[in-house]
Symmetry: C2
Subunit: 324 residues, 2 copies
DNA sequence: TTGAAAGCGCTAACAT
DNA sequence: ATGTTAGCGCTTTCAA
């Protein structure tokens, strides 16, 4: 089962492959009959042009990479979805890679993207364990998402300005009478982890509460981590509320909190991070910090399609606290 | 900013590009010094091999396409995730395309996959509006997922044997005293829609109930459709229970049911389809038909990596009814 | 209106 | 151990 190429068609028709090429691209410089004959035969044979050849010649559509920790979390899924749509309408080819928040996977994905001549990458940088090396993105235009890696401070980043929302969440809990509010978030080697924790501390103090260190739980962000930390908090039973600072963490912690309230009758107030649709459907709704996904995705594509990557002032999108 | 190629490196070092090629692929036929010098220079210059060139030569890693209606639904997201993992370990390159259940998008995705020389596609066939034309998958090995398109009956398909589970769900509802059970599912031009509806009808009759046609709601499966139909059922208020036959439909209907119970105090029993994690967290848990995602994904990769596509007997995976 | 040649980056197969 | 040639599929440039 050999591939159909312009040459095989040319052979089949007893003409030069150039004529076939021209006919297939609707060049005016082919006799109408020839053109139609060629197109007909091409259709019959099931001809498809070879993308690799186009890439080699350099006239391929722009390829954009998207590196996400995973695709199961609704935030990331929505982002991918929205970005795919936006790319479509700009005739950009989107390639999604999952890093699982692991630097090795991340670098492998970046390498593959360079191999296919991707011109840009949008990436959620993985927490860099031993730190040290900047991810190598070669000559690809790089845009960081959500987190900003400290070792590439000049890379444009699309960030969430969630400080106010987190402070509002803290205030909300304090107003409801909670004096011991636990926080679960990412380690401070992630910019997002740092910022969110700061906001939490600040919010707590603004509410006139103290922030004992044992109320603060950080680690590499993941569903399992959120789950574990929440269980610890439930065990200790000193805190009466939990506030989360991360998409995965939030889902994990929420699952632990729900299990806890069912199986052990441990009630605890909860504020999540990110706003997957089901947060509105659970019990009477889960209060949360809402992040404007679609706007982020659009900005990403904007940054890719325009040259001036330096509107960085406007690359922070405000999150919103939703009380439910 | 010119790309670094073996030729540019060769030039830079004043040697032949072949030596560079050999050095970079660790061929034994290069002097150690030469090899090391080349590798060093390549690293400095940030060389990455050109995937397009490899594809043209035909020694590229196998490419596998995955066509999904969307990636936001947790079932599809998990499938993509699991398949990505499995592909990784078989050194297959996975490319995901979203069809939005639209035939035109679907064909476009298939074309692109052929252009990049994908050897196989795993696809959830879109409902074919005017029917007629089979999706053109060229010479790619095609595997259908969940649904089986009637115009390609000999294509291997990975299906869910959900009949028993759906009948169990119906029995469950009947046992709870429901005599008017509404069904929302896909149109019968989808094999899955046909099969599930049949199972529902059969289950209802087995429970000694009649199945008035106004209890059956079908259409092109989507979140919005599930939502709309559920609202209609709530309006009519003849049914006391809803059973869903589709991933998207289920989520849509569930959202309508929850809204309904909150805003208008219309209580109705609900059994969903698919088992996104949050179904366990809502109220006291949502009963549902559970589909074994991971197994499906693994089978897909199995089928791709082995030649014998014809173990089709074992390509149906049993769903499980989960009462919550 | 058609064709022939060259070249994109790479490696297998021959030289040397 | 190293270099040369050819060819994967395609289009741009130049020639007929």
């Amino acid at each position: 089962m050999n591939r159909v190429t312009i040459k095989s068609i040319a052979n089949d028709l007893g003409i030069s492959h150039m004529t076939v090429s021209r006919a297939l691209s609707n060049s005016p410089n082919v006799q109408k009959e020839t053109r139609e004959a060629v197109q007909k035969r091409a259709r019959e044979l099931g001809y498809v042009r070879n993308a690799a050849a186009m890439v080699m010649r350099g006239d391929a559509p722009k390829i954009v990479g998207l590196l996400l920790p995973n695709i199961v979390n609704e935030f990331y899924a929505r982002f991918a979805n929205d970005m795919a749509t936006a790319c479509e309408s700009h005739s950009l080819q989107l390639i999604i890679h999952l890093t699982n928040d692991d630097v090795a996977n991340q670098q492998q994905a970046l390498d593959r993207l360079q191999e296919v001549q991707a011109s840009s990458v949008v990436m959620v940088p993985a927490p860099n364990g031993t730190d040290g090396d900047t991810p190598n993105t070669g000559s690809m235009r790089t845009i960081e998402l959500i987190r900003q890696s400290r070792n590439a401070p000049d890379t444009p980043a699309i960030l969430v300005d969630d400080g106010p929302a987190i402070r509002a969440a803290t205030a909300h809990l304090a107003r409801a009478g909670h004096t011991h509010i636990a926080y679960i978030g990412a380690t401070s080697d992630l910019s997002s982890g740092r910022r969110r924790l700061e906001a939490f501390v600040q919010g707590t103090m603004e509410a006139g509460l103290t922030v004992p260190p044992e109320m603060i739980h950080t680690g590499a962000p993941s569903f399992a981590m959120g789950c574990d930390k929440a269980n610890i908090i439930l065990e200790e039973s000193r805190a009466t509320a939990i506030l989360c600072g991360g998409f995965e963490i939030s889902n994990g912690a929420l699952s632990a909190v729900i299990d806890g309230s069912r199986n052990m009758e441990r009630k605890i107030a909860f504020v999540g991070y990110g706003d997957p649709s089901f947060y509105a459907w659970i019990e009477n709704g889960v209060s949360t910090v809402h992040v404007p996904v679609t706007e982020l995705a659009h900005r990403a594509v904007d940054l890719i399609t325009t040259q001036n990557g330096e509107a960085s002032a406007s690359n922070a999108f405000p999150a919103k606290f939703i009380a439910r």
